[in-house]
């Protein structure tokens, strides 16, 4: 009963990832996340159209609704992966630096080179200012109202979990 819907979703996800990787190689990283939603949704409706027009498959409105939720959930998941792809993680950068040196190991000079070539803190602050989450006013950083609300929610979650926050 749901076989065709399952097949539709599988095709959309696989083709969507391939298409997004190809498109991303030619467009700016600024639209990387937006492109995910555009590509996957266009592809979903193209697949639905092809299935109905050429294969005579019947999709009820419920099925189309489920397909939209499934596809956009995947888009969100894919965007979270992309965050890790676009911004270098300090932990993974350390691992990568060790991997490059393999059996020789990462010595103090290697660690210093890693620090010098990866200005993590500056890049994150710049990104926060660029997105408008943080406003720089002379020598002071001010949180935007939008991010203040989000942090209040995250703080509430943190107080429920009861985790002590670490720096760095």
């Amino acid at each position: 009963m749901y076989f065709h819907l399952f097949l539709l979703l599988a095709i959309t996800i696989v083709l969507g990832v391939i298409l997004h990787i190809i498109v991303s190689r030619f467009v700016t990283t600024k639209t990387l996340h937006l492109n995910v939603f555009i590509i996957f949704n266009l592809l979903l409706f193209a697949c639905i159209f092809i299935a109905i027009a050429f294969k005579g498959t019947n999709f009820s409105l419920d099925n189309i609704g489920i397909a939209i939720i499934f596809t956009n959930s995947f888009c969100l998941l894919y965007c979270f992966i992309l965050v890790g792809v676009v911004s270098d993680s300090p932990t993974l950068a350390i691992v990568k630096a060790i991997l490059i040196r393999e059996e020789k190991g990462l010595d103090k000079t290697g660690i210093q080179q890693l620090i010098d070539s990866h200005p993590f803190v500056g890049s994150r602050i710049d990104a926060l200012v660029e997105t408008g989450d943080v406003i720089r006013q002379d020598d002071t950083f001010i949180l935007s109202k939008r991010i203040h609300v989000l942090l209040k929610l995250l703080n509430l979650y943190r107080s429920i979990i009861k985790i002590e926050r670490e720096t760095g």
Binding site: D62, P119, I161
Partner: protein, 165 residues
């Protein structure tokens, strides 16, 4: 459609409740994540069976797919509180009433301190070890994760680091 939405919403409520409960009881964040992941297929299948009359194998797979995707999204949000540098910086400003001097922030967060904290954390979790003043990798999982992100970075962005240019 209503049944599908209800299954999705209830699955999320139960997954997050399991995580919060287990994390609080065990005082271990990872145990909470693992418990919620293990229970996700059971919760999803149970709710699908209970709420959907016309469910077949493929419907089960679709609802399971949605449940696992949202577990991953939840994991990313929850984990960002502990591992995301951006969120940590934001909280630093938030805890000072939403305003913070640039120099004060830069005193707390600098690259040398950040890398050293991460190295200590990796050592603590036995992901890396030091021998003769040098660092070596112990965790295969981290090796796979680093290789996976490096592959995606090269495939999507055609570079191996955001600091390449």
């Amino acid at each position: 459609m209503l049944q599908f939405l209800l299954t999705w919403a209830l699955t999320m409520v139960l997954i997050t409740s399991v995580d919060v409960l287990v994390a609080r009881i065990t005082q271990n964040r990872v145990t909470g994540f693992k418990a919620s992941l293990c229970l996700t297929p059971l919760i999803s299948a149970g709710l699908t069976l209970w709420l959907s009359e016309d469910a077949d194998l493929y419907y089960f797979l679709i609802t399971l797919g949605i449940a696992l995707m949202w577990w991953f999204i939840y994991l990313n949000i929850a984990q960002s509180l502990e591992s995301s540098l951006r969120i940590k910086i934001l909280f630093e400003i938030f805890e000072r009433g939403g305003r913070m001097k640039v120099n004060e922030l830069k005193e707390i967060y600098n690259d040398t301190r950040l890398i050293n904290i991460r190295i200590d954390r990796l050592k603590k979790h036995k992901a890396i070890h030091s021998f003769d003043g040098k660092l070596f990798l112990s965790s295969t999982k981290l090796k796979i994760a680093a290789s996976f992100f490096l592959f995606l970075k090269q495939a999507i962005l055609r570079q191996s680091s955001q600091f390449d240019n």
